[in-house]
Symmetry: D2
Subunit: 398 residues, 4 copies
């Protein structure tokens, strides 16, 4: 091992930087998951997590990755051969589709260009056309981690309703929950899928399904085989603070701490912070003369910014240059975007000066890697941050 001084900059769009307070909370002896101390902690966590999803309904917590929660959302609500309408927002929507197919569902993909979120109107039209209600579920990625575009969940809900279609509405918030405004109940989502390793500021290893009454009711008719991911025993045991199989105790300690921290900062402040950092990042990209991948300003992500390489290639060489020279990890372009973009994560436990360092690393990396760009990106970002800062200082003073 050779020590490299200073902290690594983990600026992929998740897993995110885990705060010390969360790491230290996890760094405590594992306890009996059938005992009273665990029970009290679990009740607190199972209640607190609802606030983050903005739901009053149950949230199911799995030991597992976000991929598992994708699977859980499908197997608890659907039957083999059911048709699922999905929207090709990018790489992760494509992976979810592939997963659905492996499980024996039929899928229909509304084509997207990987530069926009899901199109509510297109979804509405397709549902209207489905007079026989063959489509059993609509699956959308809220914040497409591979592109940095946000889908308009509330609009899609309205489109489904306008179509008078009974399909379930399943939404992936893996890279948006606790970073970008999200409202499970208000927006009428049936299953919200999430993971621990992004806005929740935890290491990976926990994943989530937030439910609606309709989703809970759908279990009865859902014939997909399921056991580990089955909600029924979770819903039966969780109210008492226990789990059907051994829970990931120490990650739950971390979640307990993270929920407390989100409460302290305030979810709306968390969202505003992410928007500010995203705006500053885009200002830097613009100053560099580069292009943000997400083509619709109304859909720019608060969690990450994907940047197009000016020559359409070289992103991986750039990322390597930055990693080796400045000890910073950035996100790669995925599948058809491979080497064409790089992604800057600015989500989770993060602040202004770390963003300045991050953008500085990108700007110096562009220079070292010989990527055509203008300097001044960091300056442009600082202008945004400095303009936003006094308000916060005033608030603190008041």
């Amino acid at each position: 091992m050779t020590y490299r001084a200073g902290r690594h900059f983990l600026q992929i769009p998740g897993p995110t930087n885990v705060p010390d307070r969360v790491l230290r909370a996890m760094d405590m002896p594992t306890i009996d998951h059938r005992g009273p101390d665990f029970q009290a902690m679990a009740k607190r966590v199972l209640t607190g997590i609802r606030r983050v999803f903005k739901t009053t309904n149950p949230v199911v917590i799995y030991p597992g990755s976000g991929t598992g929660a994708w699977e859980a959302a499908l197997v608890n609500t659907l039957s083999p051969g059911d048709l699922v309408l999905m929207y090709e927002s990018g790489h992760f929507a494509s992976l979810w589709k592939k997963l659905a197919e492996r499980l024996g569902l039929r899928t229909e993909f509304i084509a997207g260009d990987w530069r926009h979120g899901a199109d509510a109107a297109a979804i509405g039209e397709r549902l209207k056309a489905d007079a026989a209600h063959e489509i059993k579920a609509v699956c959308v990625v809220h914040n497409e981690t591979s592109t940095g575009c946000v889908s308009p969940i509330s609009d899609i809900r309205k489109a489904i309703d306008a179509a008078g279609h009974p399909a379930l509405f399943l939404v992936d918030t893996i890279s948006s929950l606790a970073s970008i405004d999200y409202r499970h109940d208000e927006w009428g989502v049936d299953v919200t899928v999430a993971g621990s390793q992004k806005g929740l500021m935890l290491p990976p290893g926990l994943s989530f399904n937030a439910l609606s009454d309709k989703a809970i009711a759908a279990q009865a008719g859902a014939k997909m085989p399921r056991s580990y991911w089955a909600w029924d025993e979770m819903l039966a045991m969780n109210p008492n603070g226990f789990f059907p199989s051994t829970p990931a105790t120490n990650l739950l300690y971390g979640l307990d701490a993270a929920l407390e921290m989100l409460d302290e900062e305030g979810l709306e402040n968390v969202f505003a912070r992410h928007q500010r950092h995203a705006a500053a990042t885009r200002a830097a990209v613009e100053a560099w003369g580069l292009e943000v991948l997400c083509a619709d300003p109304a859909q720019h992500s608060g969690a990450l910014t994907a940047v197009l390489m000016p020559d359409g290639k070289g992103a991986d060489a750039l990322r390597k240059t930055i990693l080796e020279n400045f000890d910073m990890s950035l996100g790669a372009g995925l599948s058809k975007l491979a080497d064409r973009i790089f992604r800057i994560g600015h989500l989770g436990d993060y602040n202004d000066l770390t963003l300045v360092g991050t953008l500085g690393g990108v700007e110096m990396g562009l220079k070292l890697a010989g990527v055509k760009h203008r300097s001044g990106g960091v300056d442009a970002a600082m202008a945004i941050l400095a303009a936003a800062a006094p308000a916060e200082a005033r608030q603190a003073a008041e």
Copy 2:
């Protein structure tokens, strides 16, 4: 919160006491799971874990609990409606059976009395009778955590072979791996199921499938729907140090440390230590005039000892007395053993003096709870430990 002085005694049969070195290894910043540092660590862990299973074949590591690894073993190798032969060694065998049925498999249960491990002869006979080879897999729990009886895996392998039956052999080692001698390759097991939270000395949250070539080949014909638990992408990506979906990075840090520690102590020394502690515990039980649940001395578990209440009830009141007075958690009797037994875990990161404290807590608890017993259990255990100790001291001196 009210502080209770001293360390809690976590003497359930898992999760076990996590060593500081493992907790501190987990208490480090999460890194990019697509970057070179992760890759080096993952390769080391994926190689090292094989030594613990005593296999040269791949071991698949999931973010998930042991229950998930049960599911994984089935869905990767079987098809809907396949018949699985299981052996009723106790509560966990029953849970695995229930899981198989929820997934759409047919199960056949060879009845057991919850006081013995699986009967190799009975399995052999049943397989001989299955001339049509309808049975596709034999599922056995190596160390039945609910009873403290060990099934003779090597004998069962021989019985399968003697029957000339092609069924796959799936074994649960959740509470035995890295505590009791186990040999995946030598014993001809096709899938070994394990979890992180017992002999591996980690918190819960990782689970494992060790594979045979036959198991790997079985994927091709296995029609159970699967995605999260599917081995194929794991087997494709793991050799390069990566995972198809986000791995539980910080638990892998812990596994990395735990593997190093098991290597330092030496697996055979680890097994001998568990046998010594089990023998000392049984000596205490005998001195108390109580009865060990496991009725066959050849099958006594090195990982836990289940003790029958002399009046056939009151185990939960006893456990409560011990928890409240002496801050020690013991395992409860499960399902039909509820309140009839208590279970003493003596596995994982554990030593002689902690066992003396544990048995002292039980002995004082028996007294306080008014359970009929003789004193002298701790003395009997100390006689065993003291007799064993000098050898170790001599070894250290050499």
Copy 3:
């Protein structure tokens, strides 16, 4: 490094076992010791520590060991050549005397037999004889860590008063504070000396002087050169939450946590716990047929028990046997008690079952080392602990 399974038993009479909560509190980023966050923490700690000393006066906190706090007590109150009356309670009283002499003070030692605490009457007589008030300070060790005898501080105060002598009264509570009842104000002590690594449950590295008004006033005439240990700047800056030189920030984090834990358990409960463990330990010693060093039952320490070897030697071989076979550290006999005694620490963050393990380790060690003794010590201790336990359980229930 070779891993040795399970936790080391650190049963020397300090440093003591540091609770996870304290270690984790220390395991946080160091902050600006001139900033507002530090200030808030320091004020909390500087106030809270007074409760432990049972004083309303200032307590000075040094980065340093207990030895430094001995020096501080002397240099802030005395002048070169001053005569100090000390009592030979054991090794640590002798070290304090040697330190005083190195600093240029004159000392007078009332001889003791290392089996009793200080004799209040003898001190009183000597002071009465000092009509010229040549003696400027009386120095006594409250809990003599080398012998396990407690000096009657309140009685000594009365003897000083009865003699009408103006000498300052300086008391070492390094191994008693937060373990054994101690009352700085009520007992009229002028300077109480303490360290972090015993009852306060911290690692070594902080030490303390609790002051009286008379001690504070003594600074004016005290001509011993002093700077690092000087109280004046501490007393000037501490009320505002700051220190004259860089404080040991992370140890203060730990102290902050430890004070919170002592408040949660309640100091009187802490004292009762130590007395219970000391009584159980002495019961074990008696059952072994061995002799406790401290000859006066009224002076038996709640923090440690020193045990005489039956043949007057072999204690170090015994301790080595126990360390190698059972991974437990015990305290050695010091200077003239070398090899003649071993010392069992039962102070700090400690509970019944750990004591049972500790005494089990001693009993097995006596056997392995071939020390003449009777068995039954652990049983005798358990009888004490079990008898005491129900009360605690009842309290918890109420």
Copy 4:
């Protein structure tokens, strides 16, 4: 407690950012400081620390702050009333002088302007004039933390030699050791004073005296009273891995880790990194149109940069603005520099992107606080860093 997202930027000139690896090393159970595990660790640390001072002589390690090590250097080598020649490099030189006087030494201060390091020629002249050799020691601060000026230790040694003067040479490296090139043996220093909380990357709480043979010999004639700080027992016991009084065990764990990390990075690489960051910082200051306090470019510190406020005041308001808006701590101006300067620490565990964030925070703060300046500081710094980076990348590739 209200959570503030992201990591605090601790950019005072020490205590510095403690790396996770050091914090986690400290976060382990305290062990018996008289036992074999401690002994092995202590020997390793006591040997390793010599490499950092570049000495083959003993280094004494105290539980205590740097102030204590100042005191130790004086009391082990001097006698009451001895004359000490000191150089007024700034605030910390003044504090050391004050400390010497409190201890009963006579001091003579060569006046400085707080914008330069010590003047070797002036020291040489004063020594030449001291034909009677009344001056017993020359005390110099290597890196004056209050000003950011480095004194030419090697030149001063030559000046002392040229004067043929037998005075001891005592040097404070509290904020330079392990950050700026320093050579105890080669430069002929008799006592080097250091602390744990700067380049050694530890929390405060340990301090150091590196010795020369001459310093060791000086003990014999030195009549200052001493006990805690006395070298004699340290020098007697340390070779065997033990300490005369209880050492700060957990801080020594941290030191063990820090020494390993410094070895991994390589001391010369550490120095080069500090010089690069200092150069980048000065480039930013110049771009802002502000002035670096240190007036001699040859004496610019690699560890910190002090910046003059353009209007001669307002530094504290600026620091407050930065702390409240950007969660960064900067160093204040001390005594006669109060409010006139602010100090940017860039030492210890630190890297390029954190420096970019730091300078970004200063630049935004200057703007928010209305301090007259030009923008472009961060850009200027990035130009330096980017120019330096490729070399490093090439080295890594080789």
